[in-house]
Amino acid sequence: MGAKNALASLVGLLQIFIGVSAIVFAYLLHYNPSYLEVRTLLGLREEYVAFFFLVLGVIGFFSIISGILVIYEWSFARKVSYE
């Protein structure tokens, strides 16, 4: 595996990790479980929760898709293209 491929795999995995973390964080913000109290910890006002939930959710999903595309392109896609 070349340096570029290794870098791509690393970046792809990090993006997937960021995506999953963003979605988990969005979930914690929205449901605010009593054992974590994320909203209180961040001092986040109630009216901003929906906005952050949406932004984190969209970025999270996008990040996962982008990470998968990077890994797929640099590790699995065929090396031959038919013109």
Binding site: V70, R78, K79
Partner: protein, 500 residues
């Protein structure tokens, strides 16, 4: 879809076994309870009507299966009739129904398993799906005739001994007055039909095996119709025994059929039905894992998902083809909401039925001279009735299940349009958005550092938060560049002799 050389060795009797094999799944064991709750003693009528509606649609399956004897089942029918999004939606819904059945089988297995060991139901479901994901990748043996015969014998024993009890105790009074026969009226019966639908649809499994039939033109319709007749009689008889011997207003702590069998045959009956339930769950898992795998591979082969999934040579592809469905099935099954999963399975099956009926109408109109060894009787009334009835039944689905089903349709629309956009353009777009996110994140970080804007970050973690955002910004920047630049590819001209 590439043509595959197939050995034709299935006759009529094995065709019937194949159809029964598909139909004798976990659905009847786990869905009968709520179905009875919805319709009361009229569940017998609901199941009978379910059988009739299924048979109407299976006429369309027979005609299409006999004239388009190719791998792919419903997806191929819709592809021949409509192509494009409709065929993708048909494959997608068929896949969803398989995934919901896997979830149902896992949750049902956990329910029956509790008869022997009181283990955590969610954990049992997860373990079962994970084990079968690996088993399915490594390949499974064909389910044989003995399994089907065992099911018929267990149900026949329950019906025979139950009938004796009904006659002895005079349990027929439930059927005497209309009020006690349909406690929730016609809407209850219709809701029960909608809910019970997935108990019958498994018989279509034989259509997938039609390319291997010696004489599909003659045997496929016979196999489907015979199996539906057998299933309808058997299920209605069992439901009759259930409602005649069991008070319907009690909260059961064990599966309904186990309770009824114990009630009629004693502890041996409970044990027998539990083993049958466990076997049904395992059978459903084996079959639906293979079905969902072949559908997702077919869709990948046609370019809707990465080609690596369709490759039988790639190990990653083999695991991906089973793994995607398994993850969704695990998420559904750990909820333990059997009623909800049952509605999802029925929703997807009804959608497929409607699309298959529409495919028949379209193919008849567009290809009047096509070779049709079997013709759906009373055309166009049977497929039209199939479409109308399935849409009517969709009105009785639980709202949350309908919403999830609609979300899956939206996902289908997105996937289809992504395919239309093309892989290269998609990567360019994703790369561009990555660069945009990276730029905006960097700008926000700068403004936050300068005090122009405030963010909900605790004072103690400000520096750490800034470093984290900068790292995220850099990762998105690199991902953007990697998505935009392609790996060097060796280009092959179409005129190249080796390619042509």
């Amino acid at each position: 879809m590439s043509e595959i050389e197939i050995k034709r060795g299935i006759g009529l009797s094995y065709g019937i076994i194949l159809a029964l094999n598909g139909a004798f799944g976990i659905e009847f064991f786990v869905l009968l309870e709520h179905s009875t709750f919805l319709a009361g003693p009229a569940v017998v009528l609901s199941l009978f009507l379910c059988g009739v509606i299924t048979m109407i649609t299976l006429f369309s399956y027979c005609e299409l299966g006999a004239s388009i004897s190719r791998v792919g089942g419903e997806y191929t029918f819709a592809k021949v009739a409509f192509g494009g999004f409709t065929s993708f939606l048909t494959g997608w819904m068929r896949w969803l129904s398989s995934v919901a059945t896997i979830a149902l089988a896992a949750a049902g297995f956990a329910q029956f398993f509790a008869y022997f060991f009181p283990a955590n139901a969610s954990l049992v479901s997860i373990l079962l799906v994970v084990i079968f994901t690996f088993v399915s990748v490594r390949g499974t043996k064909e389910i044989d005739i003995i399994t089907v015969m065992t099911f018929i014998l267990v149900f026949a024993l329950l019906v025979a001994l139950g009938l004796q009890k009904v006659l002895e105790t005079g349990g027929l009074q439930n059927f005497m007055s209309l009020q006690s026969f349909m406690p929730k009226g016609i809407p209850g019966v219709l809701a029960s039909i909608m809910y019970s639908f997935s108990m019958f649809v498994g018989a279509r499994a034989v259509v997938a095996g039609s390319p291997q039939m010696r004489d599909p033109k003659r045997d496929l319709p016979r196999a489907i119709l015979s199996s539906i007749a057998i299933i309808t009689v058997l299920y209605c008889s069992v439901a009759f025994i259930v409602v005649s011997t069991t008070p319907l207003d009690q909260n059961l702590t064990q599966p309904l059929l186990t309770y009824v069998a114990e009630n009629i045959m004693g502890p041996f009956g409970g044990l027998l039905m539990t083993i049958a339930g466990l076997s049904a769950a395992l059978m459903s898992l084996t079959t639906t894992m293979m079905v969902q795998r072949s559908i997702i591979r077919g869709l990948s082969r046609d370019g809707y998902f990465p080609g690596v999934i369709a490759s039988s040579e790639s190990k990653v592809g083999r695991y991906l083809s089973v793994g995607i469905g398994s993850i969704i099935a695990i998420l559904l099954s750990v909820t333990g909401l059997i009623v909800f999963i049952g509605y999802i399975a029925s929703f997807a099956s009804l959608m497929v039925f409607a699309l298959v009926n529409l495919s028949l109408i379209k193919i008849r109109r567009d290809r009047p001279r096509m070779d049709r060894p079997f013709k759906a009787p009373l055309y166009p009334y049977t497929p039209m009735a199939g479409v109308v009835l399935t849409i009517l039944l969709l009105l009785f689905i639980e709202r949350s299940a309908l919403l999830l089903g609609l979300e899956f349709i939206i996902i289908a629309i997105i996937i289809y349009h992504l395919k239309m956009v093309g892989y290269h353009r998609l990567r360019l777009a994703v790369g561009g958005v990555n660069l945009g996110i990276s730029g905006i994140t960097a700008l926000i970080t700068y403004m936050f550092r300068e005090g122009t804007i405030s963010l909900p970050v605790p004072e103690n973690f400000k520096e750490e938060a800034l470093i984290l955002v900068i790292v995220v910004s850099l990762i998105f920047l690199m991902a953007g560049i990697l998505n935009i630049i392609s790996r060097k590819r060796k280009e092959v001209q179409l005129g190249d002799a080796s390619f042509t």
